[in-house]
Subunit: 203 residues, 2 copies
DNA sequence: CCTACGATGTGTACATCGCTTACATTAGGA
DNA sequence: TCCTAATGTAAGCGATGTACACATCGTAGG
């Protein structure tokens, strides 16, 4: 593409760095995202990216922000207008699938220790938060949206991470989907049991 | 301590490395855990730790395993014999508090990408898993222990991570505790609402 | 036309890192 | 007492993040 011209200047190195970073993450997710590797991939000198990103953190934050946006459309694609708990469960499955399909990207988004005040990041995560809250409000109009949104997001996020870390069985997508469904359904099913529990003295 | 002797051999460098690593994590959690820094802290040459840890991963895994064990006693201390959902919520709060008190250690335990087949790690996480399942079985004798354990652990784990990443308000311990309580209670409170939901066609 | 300038990429350099290989020191059993 | 294995040291390789000076290029003003 930009190889034919092969001019001194790249044209759009900023975007090229992002693309290169994503490619590297997908090719070898276990390797740390290195600024030099990104530069190599973009066919540019090791320090060129510094013209567009203040430091490695800035690049990582940009990648993460892009990941958030992709996650949003991914979830929206899973169900355009969720209205029932079952729809919500489908979206939960999509969330976990997203994490397992792009483990490296997901780790960059949530596990990487980086500037939490990055404007792009804050905006992107706020968007996800709003999205979740909107769904919860639609599905459970009578519940406290704040509390339930937090609960749902945390549950799904925790499932994603435990799967990612191999703490749960993630052998096949079907197994994972079933597990997520079960967990989310369990969230909606324990309450009746509660009535039976009369705090039996343990010990 | 071992400075007075100052002999060529350290005595117990293995343990000293672990201790040094923990100190470094607590002093500057944002910095990556470096093997050389650990060696410096232990007052030893940069390559000495390699006699006791095959590579950086092994050190990290050892630190993580120690963290798992500490988490277990921390949770047990929060409530020795949990029997009610309220007790379980207290333990959930303790879990999140543990994460926020030792953010760097918690990240090493769960966010760091390292050998998931480390024997020590596997054993330690299995122990936590058993612990959670035991509590769930005691508190909800009639529920499916597998599913509900997964749900509870994922919920609490997700809460911890979202707090750690600044995605939720973690300004004061009280706020966090209240939020965790609310979320966990929400887990037990949505079911009645469910009966009202009859899948209204969203449009 | 051409020239100076700002934006962008290059080259060099330095400190740090993980890790390997070869060597030094010491403790403890034969 | 001496030998051996365990343990720590020294030196070095390749890679990384980042700072600095320099090269190149599109472009606006003369």
């Amino acid at each position: 593409m930009s190889q034919a011209g092969a001019s001194y200047h790249h044209g759009d190195l900023r975007a090229a760095c992002l693309r290169a970073a994503r490619e590297l993450l997908e090719e070898d997710g276990s390797a740390a995202l290195s600024l030099r590797a990104v530069a190599r991939r973009a066919g540019v000198s090791p320090t060129a990216p510094y013209r567009h990103y203040a430091d490695r953190d800035a690049l990582v934050s940009a990648v993460a922000a892009q990941g958030y946006r992709e996650l949003a459309v991914y979830l929206a694609a899973a169900h355009p207008a969720p209205a029932t708990p079952g729809d919500l469960a489908d979206i939960a499955v999509a969330y976990v699938r997203f994490a397992l399909d792009r483990p490296a990207l997901f780790r960059v988004m949530f596990a990487e220790q980086c500037d939490p005040t990055s404007e792009e990041r804050v905006a992107a995560t706020a968007a996800i938060w709003e999205y979740v809250r909107g769904i919860v409000r639609d599905v459970f109009p009578d519940a406290d949206p704040e509390a339930l949104s937090t609960t749902v997001w945390a549950l799904v996020h925790g499932l994603a991470f435990l799967h990612l870390d191999g703490k749960l069985d993630a052998s096949t997508p079907e197994v994972v989907a079933a597990q997520v469904h079960t967990a989310v359904n369990a969230l909606f099913a324990v309450s009746p049991v509660l009535r039976e529990v009369t705090a039996p003295p343990a010990g």
